[in-house]
Symmetry: C2
Subunit: 237 residues, 2 copies
DNA sequence: CTTGACCTTGCCCCTGGGGCAAGGTTCGAC
DNA sequence: GTCGAACCTTGCCCCAGGGGCAAGGTCAAG
């Protein structure tokens, strides 16, 4: 005949939890001694360890209640199911660990793997970090707006990066970000960009200005007067 | 500028969770459009994926709040710590799986491994299941009353089981459980038990009657008139 | 006799949201 | 132009699984 504290210690739970299980009807209330203290038997300890094991497995108390006096087969089936669930949860935690590692490593966590690869290529190309951030944010917005379109576009963009002229244009646009909108080099750059677009099959869906405009809409500091002028110059030749 | 639903889908959380993060100050409230809808930017998506990753790792929201605008080093240290914690939790879940398997397998979960081994030896010896249950419950109570004493006692008991006479006595006591308290074989059994005890070093701490009495106290159906008579016979020769 | 460790009931608090109500909005189809 | 579906808004209460604290009663040792 043991007290609540000893029982709780034995099972590795708190006395509070034991009383909670009484309230929920999981563990039968034991008899009281002359002073009103609860006095427990070995059977209570067995039940409590069972409850603790199931709660540790994440089984809700309401379900444990039904499981405690279930027959062998029902219990075995339930345990098998709970075990499968545990396996899944372990796998899930493993994936979370991977993502946690990516949280340190850069932007891979926030965009699709394809976009992450594209941003890596851009970085290798040598564009500025600011440009990279603009691109990343643009792709995030595109992925929310239309994941399928974004997937198609990113594939085409990565193809485009194989073209030396496109790579050169990317770098030019990057440095042009800081130019004055009256810079005399802007019309030439616009013309060069337009003529390169003209040689392509579907220029309307893939323009850099699209991204720039999207990014500019979403980021207060993302707008560049020079880029805005470029966009105007390219729209009306 | 995306709506709350698109943002939530992108990050893989519910709109409810997003509003919850606003209330907690984890995610800044975005501007509203003319109809009062929240309109989010790419930065919100980045923050939200970060929050989701950390909550999936079990980090409390209150702590995430501090982590979101922490500097590189602080964040790195925190992530390392969280990762360690995840590793621990995975290990813990693995142990829970083992315990869950034992929940099907028998009594190993409810007593210490030493007691489980002792009960196995008793089972092999051929005592009844009822006797095993009585023993198990007795050991549970002893372990709650005094874990150190129980550990010492169980070690001695396992030694004793090597003695053929003790094994024979165990089996005799087992069958005697159902005898009438007036059974003429009881005095002879008591005398045989007493004389065996007499040949031992510390008979007072290891008597079977101790266990029987403890078990009898705790289990309503655990008392046997024959065993009670045996105990009296052995106390007063 | 005191002191510290137990025990009792009761109440409110916390996290991390879910569910539902009672509306207003937007968008595409007809 | 209007209908329905699918959005969005705020607000409120609910859940598990306890923790913390109050305001006592009890017990065992020194």
């Amino acid at each position: 005949m043991i007290t609540i504290g000893r029982l709780a210690d034995y099972a590795g739970v708190t006395t509070k939890a034991v009383r909670h299980y009484h309230e929920r009807g999981l563990l039968p209330e034991p008899g009281r001694d002359s002073s009103g203290y609860r006095r427990y038997t070995a059977q209570h300890a067995i039940d409590l360890v069972k409850i603790r094991t199931l709660t540790a497995a994440g089984v809700p108390l309401a379900r444990i209640k039904g499981l405690l006096d279930a027959d062998e087969d029902t219990l075995a089936a339930a345990i098998a199911e709970i075990d499968d669930d545990l396996e899944d949860r372990i796998e899930q935690l493993r994936r979370t660990r991977d993502q946690l590692a990516q949280l340190r490593g850069g932007d891979r966590l926030f965009v699709s793997p394809e976009v992450a690869g594209y941003l890596d290529e851009l970085r290798e190309l040598g564009v500025s970090e600011r440009h990279l951030r603009l691109e990343r944010d643009g792709w995030i917005l595109m992925q929310t707006a239309s994941p399928e379109d974004a997937a198609r576009w990113i594939a085409e963009k990565r193809d485009l990066l194989a073209d030396p002229e496109f790579r050169a244009l990317c770098l030019e646009h990057d440095v042009a970000y800081d130019w004055s909108p009256d810079d005399p080099r802007l019309p030439a750059l616009a013309e060069r960009t337009r003529s390169w677009f003209a040689g392509r099959a579907e220029p309307q869906a893939l323009g850099n200005p699209d991204i720039a405009r999207l990014a500019a809409q979403s980021l207060p500091g993302g707008s560049s007067p020079a880029w805005e002028r470029l966009a105007r110059l390219m729209e009306r030749p």
